[in-house]
C-alpha cells in the first residue's frame, strides 16, 4: 500500500508555530480576564508609584537635588516590572494546557515539537509589547520625559523584547515543573515579583541596606534597568552594563528554552 512506504513530509516549523500562536491569541481575545489583568497591573504600578508615592520618594532620594525626577527614574524599572509580572500568565496557561488532553493530541501528531511552547512565548511577547506601550503612554502623561534618539529607542525596544523572550521561556520552564495551574502561578513568583522589587526599580542601590544591596547589584534586573535608563534618559552607567544585560538575556533564554523543552517532552518519544 502506497501510504505505508512513502517518505514523511518535511516538518513545517513556521506554519506550526503560527497555528499555535493563533490558538493562544484567540484564547486571550475570547477570555480576556487574564490578559486584561496582565495589562492593567503595570499601569496601576506606574500611576501608584508615580503619582501617590512619587513626591515622597523623590524628596527622600533626591534630597537637595531639585533636578532629580522620580518619574524618569521609575519608568524604566516599571517597564521591566511589566515584563516580569507578565510572565505569570503564560506559565499558568502552559501548565493548564498540560493538564488537558489536547497536549497529548499534539504530541501524537507530526507537529514541529517546539511549536507549542514557542506559540505561548510569542503570544506573551505580543501581549507584553502592548503592555509596555501602555505603560510608556501613561508615564509620559504623568511627566516621563525621555531624551532618547530614534536609535536609542530602537536599542531599548530590542533589549525589552530580548528580556521578554528570555523571562517568558524561563517562566514556562518553571510552570511546567508544576502539576497544577495554582502551583505554576506560585512557582514563578520569584521572577515575576521578587526580582523586580529587589533591584534598582524603585530606589537606587546606594539607598539599600547592605545585604539586599549586594544581592540587587548582582542580579540580572539591575544591569538591564541601568542600560534602559542610559538609553532612554542618557544617565551614566558602568561600562560593560550593556553587554552584561545582553549576556543575562542570552543565558536566561537558553536555559529557559532547553529546560522547558525537556520538561515538555518528559517521558515521551521526542
Amino acid at each position: 500500500m502506497s501510504t505505508m512506504t512513502h517518505t514523511s513530509p518535511a516538518p513545517r516549523p513556521v506554519a506550526d508555530i503560527g497555528t499555535m500562536l493563533r490558538r493562544n491569541l484567540r484564547h486571550a481575545q475570547r477570555y480576556p480576564g487574564l490578559s486584561l489583568g496582565a495589562l492593567g497591573m503595570p499601569v496601576i504600578m506606574i500611576l501608584l508609584f508615580g503619582l501617590v508615592f512619587g513626591d515622597t520618594f523623590a524628596a527622600g532620594l533626591g534630597g537637595a537635588d531639585t533636578s532629580f525626577d522620580y518619574i524618569d527614574f521609575l519608568t524604566p524599572g516599571i517597564l521591566l516590572m511589566s515584563i516580569a509580572s507578565g510572565t505569570m500568565s503564560p506559565a499558568v496557561a502552559v501548565c493548564t494546557d498540560m493538564t488537558e488532553g489536547i497536549v497529548a493530541r499534539f504530541k501524537t501528531m507530526a507537529v514541529f515539537r517546539p511549536a507549542f511552547l514557542t506559540g505561548h512565548v510569542l503570544g506573551n511577547v505580543i501581549l507584553t509589547i502592548v503592555s509596555l506601550v501602555l505603560v510608556i503612554g501613561f508615564a509620559v502623561l504623568i511627566g516621563f520625559r525621555p531624551n532618547a534618539s530614534l536609535g536609542d529607542w530602537l536599542l531599548a525596544a530590542g533589549l525589552l523584547i530580548a528580556v521578554t523572550v528570555a523571562l517568558t521561556w524561563f517562566a514556562i520552564a518553571l510552570g511546567l515543573t508544576s502539576k497544577t495551574p495554582e502551583g505554576a502561578s506560585n512557582i514563578v513568583l520569584p521572577i515575576s515579583l521578587l526580582l523586580p522589587f529587589l533591584s534598582n526599580t524603585f530606589i537606587p542601590l546606594e539607598s539599600m541596606p547592605s545585604g539586599i544591596r549586594w544581592f540587587a547589584e548582582y542580579q540580572p534586573f539591575t544591569p538591564i534597568i541601568d542600560t534602559l535608563r542610559h538609553l532612554l534618559l542618557g544617565t551614566p552607567m558602568d561600562s560593560g552594563d550593556g553587554w552584561l544585560a545582553i549576556a543575562w538575556c542570552a543565558a536566561i533564554a537558553v536555559v529557559g528554552y532547553f529546560w522547558s523543552q525537556k520538561n515538555y517532552n518528559k517521558g515521551t518519544v521526542a
Binding site: M1, T3, M4, T5, T7, S8, P9, P11, R12, A15, D16, T19, R22, R23, R26, H27, R30, Y31, E100, G101, I102, A104, R105, F106, K107, T108, M109, A110, V111, G267, T268, V269, A270
Partner: protein
Amino acid sequence: MTPAIVATGVRKSFGETLVLDGVDITVDEGTIFALLGPNGAGKTTIVRILTTLLGADAGELRVAGHDLRANPDGVRHAIGVTGQFSALDDLLTGEENLQLMADLNHLGRAAGAERVAELLERFDLVDAAQRPASTYSGGMKRRLDLAMTLVGSPRIIFLDEPSTGLDPRSRHNIWQLIRQLVADGVTILLTTQYLEEADQLADRIAVLDHGKLVAQGTPEQLKRLVPGGHVQLRFTSPEEFALAGQVLPAAVPNHESLVLQVPNDGSVHSLRDLLARIDDSSLEVSELTVHTPDLDDVFFAVTGQPTQREEVTTK
C-alpha cells in the same frame, strides 16, 4: 502485505510496577483489533506506547511500516488517536477545534475548510459548530474528539475506550462511525472493558490481564472459551421444578431457590427451541432471564479467576 501494527515483546515498568510484561500484537491492515481487559490491565499504556506518547522499556515496535523509535514522526503522519480523556480545546468552538487540526495537518485553506465542513456534517455537529466545546455534552465531546482525529485522514486509528461513560444511544452512534471508518479501509486498534463492544466491532480480540495477553482470537473463538452463556428459569412450585429437571436434563438445578440454569448461547434460534420444549411439557415458568457472557466470564475462563480491579502486579 505489511501488517499495520506489529509489536513484539513490549515491556514497560513505572518504577517498581511492571505494567506490560512482554506483549505481542499484530494488526492487519483494514481490520479492527480490540484489546479487552479490566482497568489497570495495561491497555492505555499499550496505546500510549504505540502512539509515540511513551517510550517502551523493551520490544520491537512498527506502526505503518515505520520503526517507532527511529522514525516517530513517520508514525505520527499515519496515525490518529482518540484517548480516554477528551483531547479538545475547551475554550475554542467545535469548528475552531477542527480548523486547528486542519492547520496542524497543513491541509491548506480551501481543503481545510472543506474537510472541517464535511466532518461537522458527518458527526452531526453543524448546529453546535459555533459553540465553545466546554458547553458540549459527553456524547458530543466524544464525537468532536473523533472528528478531530479524522481531520488528517489517518490510515491507522487508536481509540482508547471509545464508548466508556456514554449513554447507550451515543455508544451506538460511535459504533456506527467506527464501522464506517473500517469500511473506508482504515485500520483500528481499540481498547475496551466490554466484551459486547469487542464482539460487536472487532475482527480480532486480545485479552489483557496484568500486563500479559492471556488469550487472543476472533470473537467466535474467544466466546467458545466462555461457558457462561445460559438461560435462567425460575419456578414457584417444587413439582414444576422437578418436572423441568427431567425435561431439560442438561440444566444445572438449584434446589433451594428453585432455579434452573440451562446452557444456551442466547441466539433467537436456540431460545425458540428452548421455549418450544417448555411449551410442549406445559411447564409453568415464573421468570426467564437470558445471561450472555461478559468480560467477567471471559476472564474466569482464561485466567481461572474473576477480574480483580484493584490488584497491582509488582516485580
